[in-house]
């Protein structure tokens, strides 16, 4: 009777743990990564959003100073100091009550509680709260300004172009003539043969 040798009773081989990332390569850019190309003076660490700011949006706290360009692909709240430009296309930009911004701003919607010196361009709407101070030119489709807000500058309202109405036919269709009376001359449409 043959018995299994102990060396035959090897435990089943476990697959080796991969030393690095899984087989499928990670995407080059994580879809929700914040791209903030700017110089931040504060040490980089996990930012804890202030209460009231919904998750999924970015925020610069009141003790943060940024000099440079900010590009955001999600809603952004700024409550610190910014010098440069801020672009937040297709998203909402909120300027908090402690913010002091010397920058040009571009976003879909801009809500202003703090102080801005610079031009503001919102494709949809600008909302200037009563404690806000804005010196600069505004370009937007809609504007709401509360009593008490300070604003110095010009306002250009650029309303979105309305959908084109269906064009009425230029001329009504003429019924074809049954017969041409002798001697009568009627203009022949271009491209048709006259008889």
């Amino acid at each position: 009777m043959w018995s299994k040798r102990k060396e035959d009773e090897l435990p089943p081989q476990r697959p080796e743990k991969p030393a690095s990332a899984p087989v499928t390569p990670a995407p080059a850019v994580e879809p929700h990564r914040r791209e903030v190309t700017s110089t931040m003076s504060s040490p980089s660490r996990t930012f804890e959003p202030e209460p009231g700011i919904r998750s999924g949006s970015a925020a610069l706290g009141k003790n943060v100073t940024v000099k440079g360009q900010i590009f955001a692909r999600e809603d952004l709240t700024i409550d610190g100091e910014v010098e440069g430009t801020v672009e937040c296309h297709e998203h909402r930009l909120t300027i908090g009550p402690n913010a002091r911004v010397q920058a040009g701003l571009k976003a879909r919607e801009i809500i202003i509680h703090g102080s801005i010196q610079g031009n503001v361009d919102a494709t949809d709407k600008i909302d200037i709260k009563k404690e806000a101070k804005l010196v600069g030119d505004i370009k937007t489709s809609r504007i709401v300004i509360e009593d008490g807000a300070y604003f110095k500058g010009s306002i250009d309202i650029s309303k979105p172009s309305p959908a084109k109405a269906p064009q009425a036919p230029a001329t009504p269709a003429q019924p074809p003539a049954a017969s041409q009376p002798s001697g009568a001359s009627t203009p022949t449409p271009a491209g048709t043969a006259s008889r």
Partner: protein, 212 residues
């Protein structure tokens, strides 16, 4: 003829005895609106500070509006003592540097409201010169002056547009008047303008349309 403050006048701004908000019909503003309705792509200056009603009204015609709170600048730069501080060249210069800082011929229309009646010489003439500088030829300015010769205290108002003929006067304090302006004085003040048109109203407000 110089425009000067009466001797011993002080100009403490105060909210005491401030009148209530007033609604008034304005023939001058009605005339100003004729320009808004008949022309396109105008650039209008509102010197009563930014307000939802004024912005909505002007932009509803497709025009561009600029806001500048001249009374606010006066209070900030000239302080409580309007008249005394206007006389100081450095203070007057600071006021001019902060108001009407627009390029030449920037505007087709200006709603100056009643701000000019609180200024005295030489700052008054300098401000009028700046106004004419920023207006385009043919542009219209709407200016108000209190016509009550006996009034010693004048309220400060924010002017809010209700419609093409109606204004809302929202009080923002009061001050002692600098001087009384009659028609002759106003003609001299705006002598560089091409024309003046006066509207005298029942509530002692002289409305003037000045054409650059």
């Amino acid at each position: 003829m110089k425009f000067g403050a009466p001797k011993g006048a002080s100009s403490k701004t105060s909210t005491k005895d401030a009148p209530a908000t007033l609604t008034r019909h304005s023939s001058g503003f009605d005339q100003f609106c004729s320009m808004l309705k008949t022309q396109e792509n105008l650039s209008i200056l509102d010197m009563s500070g930014a307000s939802q009603s004024n912005i909505s009204f002007v932009t509803s015609f497709g025009h561009r509006i600029s806001s500048d709170d001249i009374i606010g600048t006066m209070q900030e730069v000239l302080g409580d003592d309007f008249f005394q501080n206007q006389q100081a060249a450095s203070t007057a210069q600071r006021f001019l540097e902060q108001t009407l800082t627009f390029p030449d011929e920037s505007f087709d229309g200006a709603l100056v409201w009643d701000a000019l009646q609180f200024l005295v010489s030489p700052l008054l003439e300098q401000t009028v010169e700046q106004l004419l500088r920023v207006m385009r030829p043919g542009g219209l300015m709407l200016v108000f002056f209190n016509a009550d010769e006996k009034a010693k205290q004048l309220p400060l108002y924010n002017y809010r547009i209700q419609d093409a003929k109606t204004l809302l006067q929202v009080p923002r304090g009061g001050t002692q008047r600098s001087q009384y302006f009659n028609n002759r004085m106003l003609e001299r003040l705006f002598e560089k303008a091409s024309s003046l048109k006066f509207f005298l109203t029942r509530d002692n407000l002289r409305e003037v349309i000045v054409r650059r």
